[in-house]
């Protein structure tokens, strides 16, 4: 089957029930999305599918259809940061960093549809992304800063 990741087409031949996460990581070598739990409890595997946030460990590749996948690598790069990534760096959010691909993908999608989020909304959207290092206080600041930056254009 053909899948579209970060704007490139890939041919993969795998069991249709293989989770997208493992197609990305092991078949395609795209390791930005991480494995943390495999049961949608941590969000480290978060990608965008046609722009919508999805836990790639919960999406079987057969259910992807011809929708387009964006991983953290497709959101931005060290040379061309997405506004959320720039805010994350400015606010020094990451500690071990393992959960942050998922955190950033979650925040980036959310800010597209909720450009001026309240604290309650941020709490509702970001709380299914687990961080064992406890970076939450700076995630909050970075989301708000990114929202502001995106609004300013």
């Amino acid at each position: 089957m053909q899948i579209d990741v970060n704007g490139k087409a890939f041919e993969v031949e795998v069991e249709p029930e293989m989770p997208l996460l493992w197609v990305l990581r092991d078949e395609l070598g795209i390791t930005g999305p991480k494995y943390g739990c495999g049961i949608a409890q941590c969000g480290a595997c978060t990608v965008h599918v046609d722009g919508f946030v999805v836990r790639s460990c919960q999406l079987a590749v057969r259910d992807l259809g011809n929708r387009k996948v964006t991983t953290i690598e497709g959101l931005g790069s060290p040379e061309a940061l997405h506004a959320v990534q720039a805010a994350w760096i400015e606010h020094q959010v990451a500690q071990c960093g393992y959960c942050q691909s998922g955190q950033i993908m979650q925040a980036a999608s959310f800010l597209k549809t909720n450009p001026n989020p309240s604290d309650e909304q941020i709490d509702a959207v970001m709380s299914s992304n687990l961080c064992r290092c406890g970076t939450y206080p700076r995630i909050r600041s970075a989301v708000k800063a990114a929202a502001k930056k995106l609004q300013e254009g």
Partner: protein
Amino acid sequence: MINKLFEVSMTRSLPLVSLPFRALPIPLTSGRSSGSLGSLGFLILLVAVFSGTLTLSTSVTAAEDKVVINPPAEGSVSQQEGLQAWARIFEVASHPRCANCHTGESDRPMWSGPSYGKTRVHGMNVQAGTSRIGAETLLCGTCHTTKSEDWDNANATPHAAPRVAMNWALAPVEAHWFGQTSEQICAQLRNPETNGDRTMREIAEHLNHDLILHWAWAPGGGREPAPYSLQEHVNDILAWGVAGTPCPQD
């Protein structure tokens, strides 16, 4: 087909902001990448989705008829038999596999049942919102991904987010079953003003068509299924209907 379903669902729909229909790109269709839908867009989404009769993607095939809908003959079910059927219906409706998402005005799904230990709201602060699908904050479908077709063993992993070949969502507000008594649920389910304007036959068809409801009897992952079976439940609904939908408080 979709237009017709939507019109139908509009007339049946529960009190809502009435909005002009617009063909919107929604999760699961291939097509344009997301733009800023805004709150209007999400309300439209909500109307299109939670009626339960509209599955969002043309690529999701309507379920094959999984049950036989064959109501008993008129007059063939006594009041007592009807109440017995109701008792079984209540067992199903109040079971965690159903009641956990039939939370009434609360937009928090519940986690209850033997596999959870203590009863509590769904973890991680998830909120289904007015849209009932989390459109305002975090879509249910983020974790409870939508299957493109009804393939087997998708929910074998314990403690993972169950998924069906339909968008995951809370039930409408009126279908409040969690923590409700038999009398309360009975009153809600038999009244067209609170049951989505349905006859019992239409409820049976709803049970047949809406795959998310089938999950209750085959939840996977070590979860306790709803009692009886989908077919037995449909039979009970039909029998209860023929009996004149008697309730314990009558």
